[in-house]
Symmetry: C2
Subunit: 134 residues, 2 copies
């Protein structure tokens, strides 16, 4: 069912510093910051040859990553995003297998303009998993 | 400097269960477990089209991931591995930039038979980073 690893998301308190680490220290290609108000994050994309790292900073008081960053002030790996061909079919298969889909179980339009769902980390080895319809 | 994301490592207490989650629930191609005594882990490779997920279980009392799994009994994302062309050049550049290289700073032969180094998570947004000479 799952296809490519679309991205690894790292949540940070200071996006400018994190972007500088990837651009200058690790010598990667890093995009300009993009504020995505409806998702409560400002994001920078680290473009690797085979996938992306997304550096996320909380934006606004209702940011879904505010709690994570408060608990991990130095930052931390927040989630992994796998691509699927058909997100509704994937959801139904996962639910039938007993996996918990977060929220109301309906796909939302994610930061890339595509339907996404999040899966409970306790069902996936402690890793928060995002599925994105590719 | 950094190239491909070689793998994401997830450390777990129960490798058979984690492998079954990826094979059966997420429908991925999963290898048979491989015990790597000199690295203190048993590993299963989840082969995605563009990269790998490595599921790691502690092996032996001196396993370098035993403490992590004790702290995260449900499992958790342990590290990210980026490929570099020249690991000694990468190390020297990183050290000059003030990043901390773990251990004695000399590359070891990693689980794939290639030279690797680990970088301090506090210098990389809370993420433990492995560099592997590709």
């Amino acid at each position: 069912m799952i296809g490519r690893l679309n991205h690894v998301a790292i949540a940070v308190a200071d996006l400018a510093a994190a972007a500088a680490t990837y651009r200058n220290t690790l010598g990667a290609k890093v995009s300009e910051p993009e504020a995505i108000a409806e998702h409560g994050v400002t994001v920078v994309f680290v473009e690797l040859p085979n996938t992306k790292i997304e550096l996320l900073e909380p934006l606004g008081e209702a940011s879904p990553i505010a709690g994570f960053v408060a608990k991990n002030p130095a930052g931390g790996i927040h989630h992994l995003c796998y691509e699927v061909e058909d997100i509704l079919a994937a959801r139904d298969t996962l639910k039938a297998a007993g996996a918990r889909v977060l929220g109301d179980g309906e796909p939302k339009i994610g930061a890339h303009g595509k339907p996404v769902l999040f899966l409970h980390p306790k069902d996936f080895n402690g890793a928060l998993v995002e599925l994105e319809q590719a």
